[in-house]
Symmetry: C2
Amino acid sequence: MKVLITGIDGYSGWALALHLLARGHAVVGLDNFVTRKRVREVGSWSANPIPPFPRRQRAVREVLGQELGFHRGDTNDFDFVREVLKTERPDAIVHLAEQRSAPYSMIDVHHAVATQVENITGTLHLLYAMQEVVPESHLVKMGTMGEYGTPNLDIPEGFFEVEFRGRKDTVPFPRQAGSWYHWSKVFDSGDVMFASKIWGLRATDVMQGVIYGIRTPEITDDRLLTRFDFDETWGTALNRFIAQSILGLPITPYGKGEQRRGFIALEDSMQSLRIAVEHPPAAGEYRVLNQFDAAYSVNELAEITALVAREFGLSPTIAHPPDPRVEAEQHYYQPIHDRLIGLGYRRSRELEEVVREIFRDLRRFRRRLEAKRHVVQPVVQWRRVDSHEAIAQRGPAAPSDPPTERPPVAEDPRMA
Amino acid sequence: MKVLITGIDGYSGWALALHLLARGHAVVGLDNFVTRKRVREVGSWSANPIPPFPRRQRAVREVLGQELGFHRGDTNDFDFVREVLKTERPDAIVHLAEQRSAPYSMIDVHHAVATQVENITGTLHLLYAMQEVVPESHLVKMGTMGEYGTPNLDIPEGFFEVEFRGRKDTVPFPRQAGSWYHWSKVFDSGDVMFASKIWGLRATDVMQGVIYGIRTPEITDDRLLTRFDFDETWGTALNRFIAQSILGLPITPYGKGEQRRGFIALEDSMQSLRIAVEHPPAAGEYRVLNQFDAAYSVNELAEITALVAREFGLSPTIAHPPDPRVEAEQHYYQPIHDRLIGLGYRRSRELEEVVREIFRDLRRFRRRLEAKRHVVQPVVQWRRVDSHEAIAQRGPAAPSDPPTERPPVAEDPRMA
């Protein structure tokens, strides 16, 4: 199959490209490199240096012996999206080119608007261009388990049968998202569902759990590493916890730390996306997959991190700062995730083993973590309308602990 | 109370301003006049001429003896929105400044994007500016009954208790909108609900039924008339049906015509909005009102129109063109609408009597209908990605029936 990956330069996009190539699919990508820019905007970078895209393509050629097509451009430019589809005519489109950070969307009104506007615009452009150019293609759209929120109910895969006042119907499961970013994903889901209905498009909407990990079997060379974010804006809780313990900072589960979420290893998320691509739904079918492997509380993540940190000779501490988000700190959480298993999904990695692997890699990049230690602890507050002052006040890295390595970003402005 | 009305130059906004003034409230408005521009874009105009805004303000002064404050500007400009709130410090904000046409949103990708982007941006700007400047104020946000779609269930007011796999919770009622426009309203609802939660804002989300009517008791002078759209893009089904019968065109309920929707008279919609304004919810409460009076099928509207048309000596015919929308043409429809009645709402107008009133007024503006008869019949198709060609092909008004009245729009570019 020929697969177009939008956002191919990102964390999932890059790992997926390698995985699909290794499985014999043709892969072409597009990206506008805005994540690199926005990670710089908050003063951070990837734990491991990420080469400019042409060097990534060269590494794929040299290490995997494969060609990776690429178009530089923005999904918010409709003519660009249409031209890419006309040129490539993909069998499937995996749409990952979206602003993906909840804290980034909560910085202020302009970040809120940019997140929602850019995300829904890119998706609408893709839907219209698909219907015009490749109506038989299959859209795999990246959503999030966070669309559902944490209702006091089991969470089905997209739809459920309800009874109300003596009547029954199967309807979309209500969405109660927890940030402007998460709402933008809810909006995308509505638009994709509607496009499938009016135009008969085939679409898979992936309710993605939180991904953890830094490697997949295809990453056999440092030049093939995908980005790994560890700052408060772009890093997941687990990534921050690991960075915190390496940096001697307290591990910070927010509030009570009983917030539970669905998680999946990077390798298994790629497995799941490939399964979705290889098993397209029927024309007009809007299919929702809850794509996670197991649920953990934030406290459990903190404890696993501390456990592994001690194996590495570190002395981690756990603190509980007030939750900067507005969310239930204790709640029921039982989402259903049967469909991917029905299509052949099997877990290949265990959380603890992956955490160990991340520690091993991050210790190699310790100096890049040290240089950015001031952006690891949380400052963006959900209850505030403007977190700029808090961001400004966190100041530079501690003077006692300066970066001694010349940051690669200085050598190449596109290096992140 | 001091009430800010965004979109005060529009159909509801203008009628609401007059109603609130008559009830002793202070009213200030904002508008960017984009509806006038977009009605011109599709080749149409209001059945009755609408004076430029300064003349509308003067008429209010002369006829009602009241001052109507006004700020010209765009809710998509955050600094403008914030400045207006700082200047006016309203007790309530009725947010009507949105692209409100489903067919307009379905013309092509750019109209789809503009509708969703502008609507959610304006709402996000208002929410942020409120929280910063007037956090105790009350946002009354205009949504639509169309957010719910037509599930095989009774439709509650926003939330319902469900049981799923042995557990119960009260959750938002699922939304299944029927156009990019209707989805934009769903998105707004999500953002307003979330803002209420994180910032403790008080908000009323109005699931508005289709409004019918051309007059309210405050409209005692032609200079005070609100706009009345009758073309396929901006006019409601009932408005088009009345225009069709006056123009000797067939009345066109789409498909089987059994689509049922909730309706409310203009005067009663204004009553409802005033009740909402005068009874604000508690801080942090997100309240949903299903604001309609009675449900009718499109066929019933066509029959009432034909009945009244015959009273006026016309010979109406009814045709059933294929439905250009993608919607159920026969379905269950039983929405609940108890809350407004609980707050004191009482019906003041009957549909048939209002239809008669519209006929009386539209006959006076018959020449303006004749001049635009080519834009009354439906051409925008939900299944098409681009309806521009169909719009271009519908051609000008029939040569046998030219406008003999010099259109006021030629005298004043802001007259619509």
